[in-house]
């Protein structure tokens, strides 16, 4: 949770409270609440116009949370595992909108695996947040695909199945912005959120977000305890909005990289791991795989590739969103009809 900024207003004259939503009905201490708070903070910091944002979600505790932030933005609480398709339609109908999607590990990795993979492949412009707690919170704690292999939980029992790494899934399906973070690391979450919002394609943030009701024992890789003890950032990341000038601080050249994002803003990556390079797909995959083997909790920007166009870009859309096109543009002339029918005489 952030230090409140009483009545301080941002570049477009909005105060932070205006980016808030309804009171949360989630459990006290749920990681999802802190993520919702970071979204509010980031929207305020970036002076986002609420009506240029849409909120999307599936079904789950995580998917409820869009009700608790950006109350002045339109949103669509879709079906379980089906946020990607609804988002794809909405964002093609109006490509001027930016989307913040919130899903859960069950919503994304279980019932939603197919739609998730195909969303990555299409590279629809949206920030896709997975509030990852290793369980189905809302249905009282069954294992999800991100649960630890071999884990035992009082209610869910024993998990014999391997853990699915949703970052890996995103990368091999074609996603160009893949990051992992921890709800307990508010600062990193905010920085990654800002960068993700500047990315023109799909940006996946797999945020470990502890379920205090069902999966918060220190032995669980999805618990606050484990996270605090083991979180291992790949980089120190800084976000630089357009206006801010880039200072290279006092790092060795090799250690520091500045990456320009689609909207002209930048991120500063200060490597904490010698030979990790988030711009190399194989390196990224290999690092995730090693982390899996060694049960490491790595966070940071895992893979970034700005080269692929987004779905809207390949669709050759007009500047005016499809949803806003006037009748003249949508309905051809009587002559056009006449002409076409000639061909069927």
């Amino acid at each position: 949770m952030d230090r409140a900024r009483p009545l301080k207003s941002n570049a477009i004259g909005m105060v932070k409270a205006e980016y808030g939503g309804l009171a949360s009905t989630l459990c006290k201490g749920c990681g999802h609440n802190s993520i919702a708070n970071q979204i509010i903070q980031v929207a305020f910091d970036l002076s986002l116009k609420p009506h240029e944002i849409i909120k999307l979600s599936g079904i789950g505790c995580s998917s409820k949370s869009p009700a608790y932030f950006l109350g002045l933005s339109h949103g669509f609480n879709a079906l379980h595992g089906r946020m990607p398709s609804v988002g794809t339609g909405a964002l093609m109908a109006n490509h001027s909108l930016r989307a913040i999607g919130v899903s859960g590990d069950g919503d994304t990795g279980s019932i939603g695996m197919g739609q998730f993979k195909h969303l990555m492949r299409r590279n629809v412009r949206m920030v896709y947040i997975i509030e990852d707690n290793g369980v189905y919170g809302l249905t009282k704690g069954q294992f999800s695909v991100t649960a630890d292999e071999g884990q035992d939980l009082k209610y869910a029992g024993h998990n014999d199945l391997p853990t699915i790494d949703l970052c890996m899934e995103a990368i091999i399906a074609g996603c160009g912005f893949v990051a992992r973070s921890f709800a307990g690391d508010a600062k990193q979450v905010r920085t990654l959120l800002k960068a993700a919002l500047s990315h023109r394609g799909t940006a996946v943030l797999d945020i470990i977000s502890p379920c205090v009701a069902f999966n918060n024992h220190d032995s669980s890789s999805k618990s606050y305890g484990f996270g605090r003890a083991n979180v291992q950032a790949l980089q120190e990341i800084g976000y630089l909005a357009h206006e801010e000038e880039i200072t290279l601080d006092d790092h060795e050249p090799g250690e520091m990289r500045v990456v320009e994002l689609h909207d002209g803003s930048h991120i500063k990556l200060h490597k904490l791991e010698e030979d990790f390079d988030s711009s190399d797909r194989i390196v990224a995959m290999e690092r995730l795989e090693r982390a899996r083997e060694r049960e490491e909790f790595i966070t940071g920007l895992i893979y970034y590739d700005s080269s692929r166009p987004s779905l809207a870009e390949v669709a050759n859309l007009p500047d005016t969103p499809l949803a806003a096109l006037p009748e003249e543009r949508l309905r051809p002339s009587p002559e056009a009809l006449e002409g076409l029918l000639q061909g069927y005489r």
Partner: protein
């Protein structure tokens, strides 16, 4: 459709020594061998001669090598229903025996004389064609040789039926989009075959054609093309789909028409078409686009409809405009992908768990496919609900005559969408302001902060906020019921095809109208015929039933689905309703309808 109105002289009176413009032709070939071109050339030729005509493709669910039959109904009376053929073209050895045996006596059999077969029936007039001989000199590569072989029966039939060669050429040119390189070799074979027939065949059957003017000014098109064209003129801006027979042609047509009719001067596309990963995603995308303000459509068939169930319920409950074309094929399950049916009526009406009820349209002609193609968007946006258009394989994939489509008379009706100004300083997404059950909506991007709401499939109050309060739930659902009542008056009403009869009436919908129309011509007693064009029903239907002692609901499914729905909605009239429901994948014939209706007429005689 003008040409299908009751005729003064009944068809049966025409069975004389020479039968002009009144016969049915069946071409039996192997699919994937180019026979479609030959069939369509013949179809187009009759059409260009001004003779009412219709073709039905009875094809297998595979890509190449299996039997396929093409039925062409030539009818000066304008009848287009399927009819047992008088003329058979037997070019498929695999089904030769079966095909020949299936013919009634006195009919004609034109066959490939190279096949190691004989026509073992002397009650048929048989003509053998020396196919190899006739194509041996044609100037095409071996690969195309099989294809042009089909032109042999085209040429021979041209001669036997007296189709002018220039008309055949015109039709060939139409099929090949004027590409001479393709037309030439085919024409070559047609000419050779025609000449050979002139020399070696002496005409021993009564069937021939003569020019008419009945089809002048008409178009010949498939229902899928017409529906897609209607959508284009309805302003479709978003389409998502997953391939499935027989709906694929609908999207193919969209993808063909849109670039031609809807690209801007700057070359940008005023639309987008997305191939989804499955039907769940297809409807999900469609609803997402509809929510955001696009005119969004998807097309599918039975299995896809099943997969769309959960999203259909969301569309109904979150009140999102969307258009879903269900080009019906034979179910349950994967069923018969290449056969026609009217079997999704009940399922779609109630599609989605809980108290879901959907608005449905039933086009019966290419004109209505076009009309509903654009009206469906108006209805979906006026009613803020998914609108299902139930076509079928027969209507969708086959070529039908129609009068040139009427350009939409009204501007688009975008429904109750509030601009930033109109919202003012408070907005309730689900408030029934006008008492018609239809609330107001705002679109994402609306700059008025008060316009925002969180669309959801969970229980909500008038502000779209999650609510478990009993009174919120029932009030919202009662409003949705009022909205459905409003829908009754906004959907296309039924068409009185024939005024109330002496005693008996018929209710039907969709593509069965042609067989029914032809059948009713055959009865002395006047029988009323009301054609339903949409669900939910309205009072016109009740009035029609009340005007008859007995009303038979005719439909192409096993379980009498529309009949069941009418029983549910008009319990007081239940006793007057009877059902003729049958499905085997083949379009109805007039004689089938006559057989099934006769008992209801005889009753009176007793």
């Amino acid at each position: 459709m003008g040409v299908s109105e009751p005729r003064s002289l009944p068809a049966r009176a025409t069975a004389v020594s020479t039968v002009v413009n009144n016969f049915s032709l069946m071409v039996a070939t192997v699919n994937g061998t180019g026979s479609q071109t030959a069939n369509l050339t013949l179809l187009r030729a009759f059409f260009k001669m001004g003779i009412p005509v219709h073709g039905k493709n009875i094809f297998p669910s595979n890509i190449q090598g299996l039997p396929t039959w093409y039925h062409i109904r030539v009818s000066r009376d304008g009848y287009v229903a399927r009819k047992v053929p008088e003329v058979l073209v037997a070019f498929n050895i695999a089904t030769f025996h079966e095909d020949v045996t299936s013919m009634q006596s006195d009919s004609v059999c034109v066959y490939n004389g190279d096949l190691p077969v004989t026509v073992d029936r002397d009650d048929l007039t048989a003509y053998a064609l020396p196919v190899k001989e006739l194509i041996k000199d044609v100037t095409v590569g071996v690969k195309l040789r099989d294809y042009v072989a089909n032109m042999v029966f085209v040429g021979a039939l041209a001669r036997l039926l007296e189709i002018p060669l220039e008309v055949i050429e015109e039709s060939l040119s139409y099929q090949f989009g004027g590409r001479r390189k393709l037309i030439e070799p085919n024409l070559e074979v047609v000419d050779a075959s025609y000449a050979w027939a002139a020399e070696h065949l002496d005409k021993r059957d009564p069937y021939r054609v003569e020019p008419m003017t009945e089809t002048h000014g008409l178009v010949l098109m498939t229902g899928n093309e017409a529906g897609a064209l209607g959508s284009v003129f309805g302003g479709v801006s978003f389409a998502a789909w997953y391939p499935i027979t027989p709906s694929t042609g609908f999207i193919d047509a969209l993808r063909a028409f849109l670039p031609r009719l809807r690209d801007g001067e700057d070359g940008s596309a005023s639309y987008t078409v997305i191939q989804a990963e499955d039907e769940l995603a297809a409807l999900g995308m469609t609803l997402g686009a509809g929510w955001a303000g696009a005119r969004a459509v998807t097309a599918t068939s039975g299995p896809g409809v099943s997969l769309m169930s959960e999203f259909a319920g969301l569309g109904y409950f979150a009140e999102i405009p969307a258009v879903i074309w269900d080009i019906q094929r034979v179910g349950p399950s994967t069923g018969l992908p290449t056969r026609t049916a009217q079997g999704d009526v009940t399922f779609v009406y109630y599609l989605g768990h809980g108290d879901t009820k959907n608005v449905m349209l039933f086009p019966s002609s290419i004109e209505e496919c076009f009309e509903f193609g654009h009206r469906a968007f108006d209805l979906a946006e006026l009613l803020q609900t998914p609108v299902f258009v139930l076509s079928d394989l027969d209507l969708g994939m086959n070529n039908w005559m129609g009068t040139p489509f009427e350009y939409p008379s009204e501007p688009m009706q975008r429904g109750k969408v509030l601009s930033a100004e109109e919202v003012g300083d408070s907005f309730s997404r689900y408030l029934d302001v006008d008492g018609d059950g239809i609330p107001y909506r705002t679109l994402p991007g609306n700059s008025n902060p008060a316009s925002a709401f969180f669309a959801r499939g969970t229980g909500h109050n008038e502000q779209a906020v999650y609510s478990e309060r009993a009174e919120d739930w029932s009030a919202n659902m009662e409003r949705l019921k009022r909205k459905f009542e409003t829908a009754r008056l906004q959907v296309p009403g039924p068409v009185l095809e024939r005024p109330p009869g002496a005693r008996l009436g018929v209710i039907a919908f969709g593509s069965t109208r042609y067989a029914i129309d032809e059948a009713l011509d055959q009865f002395e007693e006047a029988v009323g015929f009301l054609r339903l064009r949409a669900l939910p029903i309205n009072d016109e239907l009740r009035a029609f039933i009340e005007a008859h002692e007995q009303v038979v609901v005719i439909e192409m499914n096993r379980d009498a689905q529309l009949y069941g729905i009418l029983q549910t909605e008009l319990p007081d009239l239940g006793a007057r309703l009877s059902s003729v429901a049958y499905l085997d994948g083949m379009p109805f014939t007039a004689s089938f309808v006559i057989d099934r209706l006769t008992p209801y007429l005889d009753v009176e005689e007793v």
